[in-house]
Amino acid sequence: MYEYSEFDTAFVRERVAQFRAQVERRIDGALTEDEFKPLRLMNGLYLQLHAYMLRVAVPYGTLDPAKMRQLAHIAERWDKGYGHFTTRQNIQFNWPRLRDVPDMLDALADVGMHAIQTSGNTIRNVTSDHFAGAAADEIADPRPFAELIRQWSTDHPEFQFLPRKFKVAVTGSPNDRAVIKSHDIGLRMLRKGDEIGFEVVLGGGLGRTPMIAKVIRDFLPVADLLPYLESIVSVYNQLGRRDNKFKARVKITVHEHGIDRIRELVEAEFALRRSTFGGADQQILREIEARFRRPTLRDGRPADAYEASRAADPVFRAWADTNLVAHRHPDHAIVTISLKAHGATPGDASADQMRVMADLAEEFGHDELRVSHEQNIVLPHVHKADLPAVHARLAAAGLGTANIGLVSDIIACPGMDYCALATARSIPIAQQIATRFDELKLEHDIGPIKLKISGCINACGHHHVGHIGILGLDRAGVENYQITLGGDGTEAASIGERTGPGFPADEIVGAVERLIGAYLKHRESAEETFLETYRRLGMAPFKEALYGDERQRNAA
């Protein structure tokens, strides 16, 4: 995987030194709070409900054991012994002290990590497919491109004070596992003849105004990537609204001016900027690609132990059925470690658990770990013969939950338990739903389903693209949970539709249970997923399950 070059290392150290000075200048008054705020945000430091929160970038979700162990160390030394993995492949520490943050950033720099541009109105951490480099359906590993974009966007002098935050996602497969159509810019890799390039989509987003991104360029050659991205962002920097925070994202700029007008402006800008890179960026891309060498997988080692365990151990079999994905090499598997133990906080991992995952990556996984946008950890290259040992070690550390892709594999934002913006709790709702379906022992029968919960309209829990989405709102001081159905974050992206009036906190678990009951009753076979049933039948049977028969309601 990518190791920092000398340049990267020197850059990050310099940046930490700058931030250390900025913290001092804030404390002595040279910087006002207004002025300090964007500077701390550029370095990942938020102010949450109770304390600061430091958001650390995991570029394109890739970690190695040394990095994971350092995260464990930071969690123990400066925080409360755990970290929270997020939907944007970052990790958040919820309890740092302002004065400690420069030391935490130095500790990150020791292993080639940083918190740069994980917040603020800048280009954020570039996200990618968490199965990159391992998936069977991949055209090329998207991470070198994501790394190139990281270098280009880091400290970009034009784009540190954009109208609003700006998120880019890259996927290397036609199957979109990076939710690119919900990003400001999404890059989907395509092959055209012998040439590799990207379909570029612009103006997606969730939040209070969910929008599916629109195609601005159907094929962009790799060599034009940076000047074209720069053209898009510079047009947005000039045109994006600065009068209203809620209308400042590029999705609104695209909506107000139309994608065709934006395309014209971008192409005009591109004509000016195309020549400014002169090929140096492509040379750097080749150097980056060389650093993403694929691990040397061992051929010929029998996978009998795997089959034997499957036959003998139903717990292992259940885990293997849900938590493994096909590797491009048939003797290997991609392991997803669930951070969604029933009743636990989705996405949280303790320092000890981080160390267990680091050890497993070292012993069995070619030193690779990934953070998925669904808030789980991935071991992308595990030989099948090692899976029983991996599972046993995970289970012993409380990481053996067999629920990937199932109803308890819930994405939830931090909600009112941590977040200053939230209007309702999300984590306790996720915990209650997971616990309930664990009691019902129906999870595996229900099969693949995406349930996503946001604690406010800003939609950090991606509820718009959940097959079942739950949005927690404040209705006159009382938490109220609205349900949307039919959202989808894949290449067939769609925004969920509201079912009707919301439910109070003590009724939402029952409501979800009734929805699932309706699905089980109406599905044509066990193979038809919840989303497929919804798309076939529409809203009616689910509405009836939620609110009762319409005629009865009218009569009542």
Binding site: Q18, G29, F159, Q160
Partner: protein
């Protein structure tokens, strides 16, 4: 909605009041009263804040503004025990009508009254001593818990109020906030009418400024509204608004306005502005006859394409930064350079030291900042970023490093 208290918990004491006042006045120079009040209630630099109100003739304006923004803000009402009965009734009515939830009535300590004015006649022999006993000292005790207080004073009231700013430094102890400083008498009346606010009953009876009953008299048409306060005495303030804590008699000299110059920041540090030729706006550029010393002031929302025909004859372009958080100027600079502008490129306005490297990398040669910013972020803080070519991903990706 963000309220005070949601501000970042500052992990150090507030900066000296004088520095904060200078900065706050610069920051809110062009704001309206409501905005000043709203921000004063939430600005970490202001700190804990209370409104001090006499519930007099014009007090209802600020009280109403406050009730709209945050009804729970502490309101301090000084009951000197010498007030008109009408004022006490009006005070209760207004507080109830506006729904103010934290009105604190401030009174002199009984033992102090017993010691210095047992018969309530001190005002006849020494109004200053009476004010000190019944207003200044009680308020001082009440304000000990606050970093700042809001007053309703206005420039038009004359006397030493004629040069009032939004923010004042009170003896390096506290900040006084005067949201209505720039209001004219008609603004006050319009606000009361438009918002259908209850009026103090004595106004209709000829009292445009209302203090304690013994020392307030009617005002005739054409007189200063405060003429009825301590009439026939050499006194126009009770003492809570004295300059530097002292009573200042006679007309106040206007403060010496030192015409301070903006500072130009380059890689070499601070320097005075050497450009004396003035600036054109883009719309007057066509009329300007170019003789090689043409300079242009560019607002941040300008479209550089409109300048394409003129770039060759412009010597200097100055790009405005209305706020350091508005990054349009960086892209403007980059565009101008890409369009071939080779002249002098200057950023002007709210650019902070931390943005120096960005500005230089985007194509600016220099930055013009106001004196107060230069004081707050002195030269050393800018020079720390003068090695802006180092650690630059952009020049590396473009083969320039």
């Amino acid at each position: 909605m963000a309220t005070k208290g949601k501000e970042m918990p500052l992990e150090s004491a507030l900066a000296p009041a004088a520095d904060r006042v200078a900065h706050l006045n610069a920051r809110y120079r062009n704001h309206a009263a409501q905005a000043v009040l709203e921000r004063a209630l939430g600005d970490a630099q202001v700190g804990r804040v209370a409104l001090v109100s006499s519930f007099g003739a014009e007090s209802v304006v600020l009280l109403h503004m406050l009730s709209v923004i945050d009804r729970s803000t502490p309101v301090l009402f000084i009951d000197t025990r010498m007030l008109f009965e009408e004022t006490l009734t009006y005070q209760a009515d207004v507080a109830a009508t506006l729904g103010l939830t934290d009105v604190r009535t401030i009174r002199a300590r009984p033992e102090a009254l017993a010691a210095h004015d047992p018969d309530g006649v001190l005002h006849r022999s020494d109004t200053d001593a009476c004010c000190a006993l019944r207003k200044v000292e009680p308020l001082e005790r009440a304000l000990a818990h606050f970093d700042a207080w809001i007053t309703g004073r206005k420039r038009f009231q004359g006397g030493r109020r004629a040069v009032l700013d939004f923010f004042e430094n009170e003896d390096d102890r506290r900040i006084k906030v005067n949201p209505l400083a720039h209001w004219r008498p008609e603004d006050v009346q319009d606000y009361i009418v438009n918002n259908r606010l209850p009026r103090h009953p004595l106004v209709a009876r000829g009292f445009p400024s209302i203090g304690c009953a013994p020392c307030t008299s009617r005002v005739a048409a054409g007189e200063n509204p405060r003429a009825g306060r301590w009439r026939d005495q050499d006194k126009d303030e009770c003492g809570i608004h004295f300059v530097n804590g002292r009573a200042v008699r006679g007309p106040q000299p206007a403060p010496q306005e030192e015409p301070e110059m903006n500072v130009i920041v380059t890689d070499r540090g601070f320097a005075p502005d050497d450009w004396t030729q003035g600036f054109h706006r883009p719309e007057t550029l066509g009329e300007a006859t170019g003789n090689g010393v043409l300079a242009l002031d560019l607002p941040s929302d300008a479209d550089p394409c409109d300048l394409a025909d003129h770039l060759g004859r412009v010597t200097m372009i100055r790009v405005d930064f209305p706020s350091f958080a508005d990054g349009r100027g960086f892209t403007l600079a980059r565009r101008l350079r890409l369009m071939g502008f080779k002249g002098r490129l200057r950023a002007r306005g709210h650019v902070i030291a931390d943005q120096y490297a960005m500005a230089r990398r985007a194509g600016f040669d220099e930055i013009e900042i106001a004196p107060d910013l230069a004081r707050r972020q002195p030269e050393a803080q800018w020079r720390r970023r003068s090695a802006w070519q180092a650690h630059d991903y952009q020049s590396r990706l473009r083969g320039l490093a």
